[in-house]
Amino acid sequence: MRELNPEETSLLELVDRLLNKGVVLAGEATISVAGVDLIYLGLNLVLGAVETFEKAQERRAS
């Protein structure tokens, strides 16, 4: 397993707050809104951003 770097860590911390913290007003609605699986969304958000970071690093290196 690859270790986390600081950029990934920052994004994970933010995503964790957006999806797992904050006021819960309507429990079940949180998960089912517009049919989006928020856990999947969270992982994709992180993976998408990691990909962006890695591309940016490649560009800087070349």
Binding site: E13, K21, L25, A26, A29, A34, V36
Partner: protein, 225 residues
């Protein structure tokens, strides 16, 4: 028309632009001195990844304009009446939480282990059952040692920051890489100074890499019972 909730604040509403998620109208619904900031949304449109980060930016904008409680991303209401009913049911707890976070921001610190050690190899004596048990004991000892070290770093952070425990949240050893995930609620006007202090304290821990984030809205401290 659905409402995607962003933040709760006390009335009166702050003066904000009317731009919500994806440029849709940002609305304010109010009941009993409390209000909900939300985006008017078409229920047929799915939320996507960029919406989560835009929600964060909206919450930051609202919290900069007036004390607010961030709402968990993805919370939706079918109507304004449904949103107001939900607020009204929790009014006392929401008011108490608003008082707790007013004028404060959250700082986040993650401590990443520099190295994730391989499990210690037990002595190659005895039979397979004994070796298995020795391995388990070695793994358990290593894990407990790391947890104790992580807890000691948390105690040092709290002592050095001289901050009350209700204004702190933390978890330790949540994954192989993460030693500590820590959040502190600090006065907004001192947030950058406290962030520098937090960076300075964390930099003295030789076995971890510190990552400091924020100040950002008080996500971790917005929970209501």
């Amino acid at each position: 028309m659905t409402l995607i909730a962003h933040a709760i604040a006390a009335a009166p509403r702050a003066s904000l632009s009317h731009r919500g998620l994806r440029g849709r109208p940002l609305s304010w619904s109010e009941i009993g001195g409390l209000g909900l900031w939300s985006t008017e949304w078409d229920p047929d449109v799915k939320l996507e990844r960029p919406d989560a980060l835009e929600h964060h930016q909206l919450v930051e904008r609202i919290c900069a304009a007036q004390p607010c409680l961030p709402v968990r991303f993805g919370t939706a209401f079918a109507t304004s009446d449904a949103a107001l009913e939900s607020l009204d049911k929790r009014a006392a707890a929401l008011r108490a939480a608003l008082t707790r976070v007013a004028g404060k921001s959250e700082l986040a610190l993650t401590l990443l282990w520099h190295e994730v050690p391989a499990p210690a190899a037990p002595e190659a004596t005895g039979g397979p059952g004994r070796r298995y048990m020795e391995q388990r004991r070695a793994d358990y000892g290593a894990r407990e040692g790391r947890r104790a070290r992580a807890e000691s770093m948390v105690e040092e952070l709290i002592a050095q920051l001289a901050i009350e425990r209700p204004l702190i949240w933390h978890e330790t050893c949540t994954s192989a890489s993460v030693a500590v995930s820590f959040a502190a609620l600090v006065p907004t006007e001192q947030a950058l100074e406290r962030k520098a202090q937090l960076e300075g304290i964390a930099a003295r821990f030789s076995d971890v890499l510190p990552v400091v984030n924020g100040p950002w809205p008080p996500y971790t401290f917005a929970r209501i019972e």
